[in-house]
Amino acid sequence: MADMQEESLFEAPPIAEQERMVEAILFASADPVSLREMAGRMPHGSEPLIAMQNIQKRYSGRGVEIVQVDQAWAIRTAADLGFLMQRETVETRKLSRAAIETLAIVAYHQPVTRAEIEEIRGVAVSRGTIDQLLELEWIKIGRRRQTPGRPVTFVVTEHFLDHFGLESARDLPGLQELRAAGLLENRPAPGTEALPNNKNSEVIQENLFSDPEDEPID
C-alpha cells in the first residue's frame, strides 16, 4: 500500500502503455483476471477498463479474442479456429488378411452367419475384424437366420459394391473364373502367404502361363 501512495506521485502511464500492460497480464495469467486485480498490478492511476475495451476492439476478428468470464477477462482462441488444436494424420493401410478373407466370404456367401464364416475360413473370426468391416461400411447386418439361436447374418453393402466397382454381388467372379485366372491354383509357399500383394500378383502372372501342377513356388 505504501508503494501505491508513493507511485501516485507519478502520473498514470499513457493509455497505449496501459493497453500493453493489460495485454501482457492477460497473456501471462493462468486464470481470468479481474479489473480489480489488474488495477492492483498496474501503476497507480491506471484505468484497466478503458485499456481493456481498447484491446478487446483491437483483437476483435483476430485469431484470439478477449473474452469476459464472470467478472474477469481472459484471452482465448477464436471459436472458429478450434480445429487448429487438432492435428490430424491420415494413413492408408492395406486391409488385414483376416479382414479380406472375411469380407470375401461375406461377398460370396451372403447372407452368412459368423459361425459359417468361421467354418469356411477354418479359424475363429475376431470381433474386431467384423467390427472393422462394419465400420468401413463394407458389410452390414442382414436378416436373422431362422435357425436355433436366430443368429444374425452379414451381407455386403452398396458401399462395398461401389468401392469394388461391382454392380451387384452376383458380378463377383465365380470359382470357374477364379480358376481360369489362375487364382485357385495359386499355391503360395508357406511363409510367403502374408507377403504384400504385388508379390502375389507376380506369382499369379507366372501361373497363367505354366502348368500349375508342376509349379510349386520355391
Binding site: 493462468a30 487438432q86 493401410r93 461391382l166 477364379l178 485366372a181 487364382l183 500383394n197 500378383s201
Partner: protein, 259 residues
C-alpha cells in the same frame, strides 16, 4: 597445538591467516585463486606479470602450508608447476633445450586466466538478460493439441478374389511341415491312435503308441512323442480315452474309456 601456535601470533596475523583459510575453501581451484590474485595487479589480463603471480601464489601456498591447511592436490600441483615456471622465467633460455620457454608457458597461463575471466563475464551478462519466467513470460493458459489419426483401409477386387481363392484352395495346400521327414503330425498320431485305442482296456504307457521306427532318431522321437501326447489329449477331450500320470515325470498312461 594449533591453539598454541595462534597464541604466539599477533591479532593481525591471525585475522590474515583465517582469511586465507576461508578463501581457500571459497576458491574453485587453483586457476580461480590465480585469477583472484591477478586482480591485485590491476592491469589488463593480457599485460599481467605471470612471474609476480607465480611468486604470489607460491607464497600463498607456503603460508597456507604453515597453517597446516589441508590443500587439495590440485593446488599443490599448480604450486609445483608455478615454481618450475618461475625458474624458467628467471633463468635465461637455454638454446639447446627444445622445451617450451618460460615466456610461452607464461603466455599460456595468461591466456587461461583471460579465458576463464571471459567466461565469467559472459555468464554474468547471460544471467542478467531478460529471462523467461522472470522478465518475460510465456502463455500460462495453453491448449493441448489433440492428435487424431485416421486410418484409411484399402482393398481392391484382386485382394478380395485372392483372399477367397486362398480359402477355397486351402485344402489343397500341403502344409510345409509335411515336407520334413522327421515330423509326425498330430493328425497322423490321431489316426494311428484311433485305430489302436479300441484294443486297449488297460492303462498303457503312452510311449507304446509311438509309431515303429520313430524311437531311435531323437528328432523323430521328440516329434512323435509330442504329437502322440497331443492326440491323446484330443481323444481324452472327445471322451474316447482316459489319461493319467501318477506323479510328475512318471509315465503318462492312457486307456480306453469304459462306456
Amino acid at each position: 597445538m594449533q591453539e598454541e601456535l595462534f597464541e604466539t601470533q599477533s591479532i593481525a596475523e591471525r585475522v590474515a591467516s583465517e582469511t586465507l583459510i576461508v578463501d581457500v575453501d571459497g576458491f574453485e581451484g587453483p586457476l580461480d585463486l590465480l585469477l583472484t590474485m591477478s586482480r591485485t595487479q590491476k592491469v589488463d589480463l593480457r599485460k599481467i606479470s605471470v612471474l609476480d603471480l607465480a611468486v604470489q601464489y607460491l607464497s600463498f601456498i607456503a603460508n597456507a602450508k604453515n597453517l597446516r591447511i589441508e590443500l587439495a592436490a590440485d593446488y599443490l600441483v599448480m604450486a609445483a608447476w608455478l615454481a618450475f615456471l618461475k625458474s624458467r622465467l628467471l633463468l635465461p633460455p637455454d638454446p639447446s633445450q627444445s622445451e617450451p620457454s618460460g615466456d610461452e608457458l607464461a603466455a599460456h597461463l595468461a591466456f587461461q586466466l583471460e579465458r576463464l575471466q571471459a567466461m565469467r563475464d559472459s555468464a554474468a551478462i547471460l544471467m542478467a538478460r531478460d529471462r523467461l519466467g522472470r522478465d518475460r513470460f510465456g502463455r500460462a493458459i495453453t491448449e493441448d493439441v489433440m492428435r487424431r489419426k485416421t486410418v484409411n483401409y484399402t482393398a481392391n477386387l484382386l485382394d478380395l478374389m485372392q483372399g477367397y481363392a486362398r480359402i477355397r484352395t486351402k485344402d489343397d495346400f500341403r502344409p510345409f511341415i509335411m515336407d520334413r521327414e522327421s515330423v509326425f503330425t498330430m493328425e497322423q498320431a490321431l489316426e494311428r491312435m484311433r485305430g489302436l485305442i479300441g484294443y486297449s482296456g488297460h492303462w498303457t504307457d503312452i510311449v507304446s503308441y509311438l509309431p515303429d521306427g520313430w524311437s531311435d532318431d531323437p528328432k523323430k522321437y521328440r516329434s512323435a512323442t509330442a504329437s502322440t501326447f497331443a492326440a491323446a489329449l484330443e481323444l481324452a477331450k472327445e471322451g474316447k480315452i482316459e489319461i493319467r500320470q501318477e506323479d510328475i515325470f512318471l509315465p503318462i498312461q492312457i486307456r480306453k474309456r469304459a462306456d
